[in-house]
Amino acid sequence: MSGITKRTLLALAASSALAFSAPAFAQDKEDIVIGGSIPLTGVFAFAGVAIEAGIQDYLKILNEQGGIDGRQVRLAYEDTGYQVDQSVAVFNKLTSQNENMHLYYGDSTAFSRTINPELIRRNAMIMAGASFASEINDPENFPYQFIAGPDYSEMFSILLEYIAKEKPGARIVTVNSDSEFGRDPIESTRARAAELGLEIVEEIITPPGAVDVSTEVLKLRRARPDYTLFHGYILAPLPEFMTQAKQLGLETKFMGTFWSMDSSIWADVGEVADGFMGVMPYRYYYDEEDAPMLDRIRQMRPEYQATGYMQGFLTAMLMTEAAKRTLAAGNELTAENLKASLNTIEDFDTGGIIGVPISVPGNTVPVGRIYQYDAADKRMEPVSDWISLQE
């Protein structure tokens, strides 16, 4: 048993379920399947592994309570290495092998965009994923997709709203990587900052994979911002930015978005990371405020779970809730019905995964909270209330 982890067992269970499909499992009610193109390897593996765990754990909880309308829900997924053609290949493979696939988890913006016409054509499943691209927040063009959190533009809006409250008229520098991911919120941020009376004094773009940031830090020093907003990075080159800025005695506060907000990636960085802030749509594993779902998670997993876990967990929760509501209304599980049911979610209690009741009026859940890293505790601590963009 030594070499066999739980994941392999689950994968084995899943694959054997595939191998002996329908006849062997001649049940009255067939399983509902969540398909998944999940990056277990490649540059995004750290997120993919956590996401998979989050989805599996929520499904376990759900299935213990009897699943959806008596039907069990299971995750059928494969690794993509975070490459679009692989993600599409996995999608095709899983849809060829699984009958009742009505929900799907995708791994990248490019995949979301590529598979979108196919989702519309099939009208059989709704999809959410690891991408928070603003582009997806468009119910007209992406009718059967959603984001279990705010999109990147909304994340920046939340950051800006916080800044406007803390320091009206603050000077801001944005630092984005020269990639689709990095460039996503640049334009909307410009507009939003102007509305809130904040001044963007410099927009720095770094080439993808840039290592040496000393010239960018010099730019930063000249701009003298109160806040520096990073987007399009996971970790590097943020620590080097912050180290050099500290050496130069810059008073700026550094902020990031969801994917750079996991506390475990900052743990190795040390003292420099202290004070790094950012927007986070979910609670952290170790949050002490009252939250039954977090208690449950801590019971299932005694060790820290990354932010990707919470994202996967909540995505599974919202997806299955949509399926539950569709079946309860006596409708078929088509994409159209599923999405309509998803949009009926209003003031929904996530069991504390998000600290306030949420609604899904369109394609996103535009809620978030500002957290700040405490290097001594190696934890992210909340510094604001939940900020909702819905009002």
Binding site: I205, P207, A210, D212, T215, E216, L218, L235, Q247
Partner: protein, 293 residues
Amino acid sequence: MSDLLFFIEVSLAGLGSGALLSLTALAFVLIYKATRVINLAVGETLMMGGYFFFALAAGMSLPVWVAIPLAIAGGGLIGAIVERGIIRRMLGESPISVFMVTVGLGSVLVGLVEFIWGTDPRSLPDFMGSAPIFLGEVYVSRKIAISFVVAAVVIAIFLILFRYWRGGVALRATATDQAAAYSCGINVPGVFSLAWIIGCGTAAGAGMLLGQIGGIAPTMGAFGLSALVVVIVGGLDSVAGALIAGLFIGLVEAWTGTYLGGEYKLVFTFGILILMLMIRPYGLFGTTEIERL
């Protein structure tokens, strides 16, 4: 703060990162000089250097001053294995085939790193400190300054070795004429191995410096592409060319990055590359040897 001061600071930062490019370019030059192979896996060897250091200093908690030479030796070992195992067997094949072999090698090295250490970016144990350096009013990042000094010293040592050391002279002789060198009693195959070992060791050293600045990741081999521009501009077989072109490209990158925006860096350096290939394909300091048609 005055614009001039800012300009000087930016230029110094550019020279600093340019020194790293020079050091990496040196690995290309050494290997090309001896064996006429453009080793595209230099970038990946550089990455291996970073990971070796990580494994020794962070994994086995060896003291930094033990880990650094060991990591360089690790890079040299890769060079030795590749030269004896693959490149030697490819002697006489077209340069393109050998070039593609090194492309394949790069892919294998990346795969191995992902296999052993995973894909998450990691930070290296710090051995440079972080107190800032000020030259008068001008700020220089400490790590960049140290990298500059290290690169300068290493390149100076190489220049001296080529002039006075037997092995260096043997390498120059081999570069000029393999058959003549062989008949003078120079162990030409030995020179091949030596060049690969030293070249890959140098790349591994550059990888540790680079890893100190930006951490290590399986994708950091992309740095080798910028160094490739440097060797083409400087001349594939010129050590001095690698130094000067490295500093030049470093400056260009810093200026374009500062005054135009980070997205212009690559397009400018590769624009220079193409211009250079059109005007002076053998580089600023390289030996003229391209047959023109």
